[in-house]
Symmetry: C2
Subunit: 484 residues, 2 copies
């Protein structure tokens, strides 16, 4: 039956033997999506094992989202998400993450600024300074927690952003993705539950999935997560943490109200969970002064409930791979051990260079420059979205900063199909299913302007409008706006 067998003399438990054989067949594509598995009792009879053993095998497979139950019908092989069955790297990076460069495409998928915006001259100056100052020391191992002076600079930087912490609570890591991966390692245990936004950063979903956690997704409202829903859940079950981006959330672009930030901390205290705050974009606000909506939850945290992730490299110098964590005291020792077991330490040379870069005020200088450029792009793109895209496509939220616009096709329309159609016509963006736990098809999509010049944005939106009209079936004229 399905070519399975068990060996009762093997010291691997029978349910693990069954589980592994089925898993392998699914992963290798020998058991296709929607294949019905034999009923428990039939399988047990065939293998001459206890039905409870088969139940345990099936349970493990369900936990890993390899099979699922159809009520009243039986157990079926789950469709593998696109990212699990990719054949080549290009496709993976493009579809899931949108960070790849696409020649001849207008790329609304990428969240990385164009190379011409990176501060090469300042950086070169700093690099040479450091090599002259530190010599061979710059190439030795750093301690796993990170270069001490850099942690000092970060402490000062945080202080200016109303986050008061100490040097020993700061852990340097190789980018925000590593921060999320390390936190998953130390916080998520067998069968633990966590909360995430209904639409969120796919890299976080991947890291949590790799730890086989139970992810519960919470709807997003205009001022943050639906906290009534959060309270309902945490009242009834233990959760380890909630993962949030409170400024210009990826992908929706919304920012949390200060009231919701405070209430989430209260819930975390009362129901004993952590808040992981991933802050990538809070500096990119385009409507005048920073306001309450840009304040980090961490700055409101008096009870050491918030784990704060901040990437310096993500938007401005991804090639450096540098980010940091601010952690509650009792997580410092576990995070250090996890960092050590993962990659010992982040590049010491890059840490020294970035420290100097911060101290010389070059970071603030760069930030101001980027803010000015992105602010212009943002305003122009918003205008073009409103004027050029067909009325059936709605801007779900009106963001006040960040790098993303979150739009929706009319209800019931499939944004992945729209994405594929656009891609054929040399426009890239990210469809909403990329931001969900189960790759669920929906009507949403994200446009980012990080990698595009004003001129490209203008042409791209015009062309996207043509494609949309065609896709939505109300276009008279199929000649699209020509590309650059």
């Amino acid at each position: 039956m399905l070519g399975l067998s068990v060996d009762k003399n093997n010291d691997i438990s029978l349910y693990i033997q069954v589980y592994k054989q089925i898993k392998e067949k699914i992963i290798r594509g020998k058991l296709k999506a929607e294949t019905k598995l034999p009923p428990i009792r039939m399988m047990a009879n065939f293998l001459d094992i206890n039905p409870a053993t088969v139940v345990k095998s099936y349970d493990l497979l369900k936990k890993e989202n390899l099979i699922y139950q159809k009520v009243g019908s039986g157990t079926y092989v789950m469709e593998r998400p696109l990212s699990h069955s990719i054949k080549n790297n290009e496709e993976l990076e493009l579809l899931d993450y949108g960070q790849i460069k696409l020649n001849n495409h207008i790329n609304f998928a990428s969240a990385t600024p164009g190379a011409n915006l990176f501060p090469v001259d300042d950086f070169k100056y700093v690099l040479n300074k450091i090599l002259d100052r530190d010599g061979g020391e710059a190439f030795t191992y750093q301690k796993s927690q990170g270069y001490y002076p850099l942690r000092e600079s970060i402490m000062d930087y945080l202080f200016q952003n109303d986050i008061i912490t100490d040097i020993n609570s700061i852990q340097i890591v190789s980018g925000a993705q590593q921060a999320i991966d390390l936190l998953s390692k130390i916080l998520i245990d067998f069968e633990d539950s966590i909360l995430i936004s209904e639409y969120t950063y796919s890299g976080a979903i991947n890291a949590f999935r790799a730890r086989e956690t139970k992810m519960i997704s919470i709807p997003i409202e205009i001022d943050g997560m639906d906290l009534d829903r959060v309270e309902e859940i945490v009242k009834n079950r233990e959760i380890k943490f909630v993962f949030v981006m409170t400024s210009f959330q990826n992908p929706s672009g919304i920012s949390w109200s200060i009231e919701k930030k405070k209430r989430l901390i209260q819930l975390a205290e009362r129901y004993n969970f952590y808040i992981i705050e991933d802050d990538c974009l809070s500096e990119l606000y385009y409507n005048g002064e920073k306001n309450g909506a840009n304040v980090a939850i961490k700055s409101l945290d008096k009870e050491d409930r918030v784990i704060y992730i901040k990437s310096f490299s993500k938007i401005f110098m991804p090639g450096l791979r540098l980010a940091f964590l601010v952690l509650p005291e009792k997580l410092m020792s576990p995070i250090l051990a996890a960092k050590y077991a993962t990659d010992i330490s982040s590049s010491g040379l890059n840490q020294r260079v970035f420290d100097f870069y911060l101290r010389e005020g070059l970071w603030i200088k760069h930030l101001n420059k980027m803010n000015k450029i992105f602010s212009e792009r943002f305003k122009n793109m918003k205008r073009q979205i409103k004027f050029l895209l067909p009325d059936e496509i709605t801007l779900v939220y009106e963001p006040e900063g960040g790098l993303y616009f979150w739009l929706s096709l009319p209800e019931g329309k499939n944004s992945e199909k729209f994405y594929l159609k656009a891609l054929k016509n040399k426009i890239a963006f990210l469809p909403g299913n990329v931001f969900t736990i189960d790759n669920k098809i929906n009507s949403f999509f994200r446009l980012s302007f990080a990698a595009l010049e004003e001129e490209e944005i203008k042409i791209g939106i015009k062309r996207l409008a043509d494609i949309a009209k065609d896709f939505l079936g109300n276009n008279e004229n199929k000649g699209y706006t020509p590309l650059l």
Copy 2:
């Protein structure tokens, strides 16, 4: 009973509830080592649950090495290895890994060369070249697999070392430790078994332990692992891989014979497992020409059984965090996904710089220089060990390269105690328990000369001899050789 309770209405299984509560108490130190746990039946009666449930909880705790069974006596809390109960980072890095700098100590623990040996000027030249050539491109995201030209350079480099591979089989990672961590993620599944050397690199043990694998340790002989023992095991149970260092193994310094390398590949083919080969030091051979014992297993591998890890940064520029993997084709897609979920990619700037460094022949130049320096230190240190240390201390193997000497106190003597005594007298090295799965006390210890100048080695060995005589109880004169 132990302050445990269960909630039958909670949707977390009862055995998980019991397991989690006990685990927490052990980790927080509320249940001390050697505390006896209540017998199954008593615990079940008290909690009003099924004895089988308690058995399942205890089994999980055993699997994680938190408790153990004493035959005929009951179940006890396991002693936590030192590294799990460390209070501060210094102690952790010092004891487990020996990579920290110790002021005023003579440090035979560190495996990292002194900062004065790093090629700062060449490096600065290359950095500036790259920034002029690539500008902002050097700061963008790299693809997860790594910078294409660097993979090309590596392919050429491997070709010179008789490893024939293609660009698509090479994955760039942030140091050898990350390579091991990623491989653990993709290869080790629930309840899998792997084989490692009886004494091996503690960073590998940590990474494997984090995946809750069953590690089986194999004795080391003068020409490699005891392969009869390996065959005995793989005949009877499935294993995922064997982890080996075949040139100047850490910590023993031995190199595998070519016969054993070939036989291991045959075993891997026959019994269907992978070989992970971690090559840190094969270039550091001091007895003339490279011989069969320095040939990588990978170069003998015709069946795509060997996963090859090579660090460029480990010994020569640890601050760069760069290494690479050569992988069998069917592991490429999983490793890419794991790399992405872990930290997206390794520093693109460092990859570009190192590529140029390789292409300009600067790597070979640096290697030759290091080889010459280390060769001298090696020969002198070997002589001093033989002439100065008391006869009761034996050099277990006569290495022909690398950075380590593996020594033994007389049988039954505790090398951790010897280590602590030496540390008080400002000599650091690594005791043998650091290299074992279960931190088991033994008589071995490792001396490394990577970080020490000739003069320091001389004084250090002399002083260590004094400490040893005192420790072994046959020293007349307690006035130790003064430090520098």
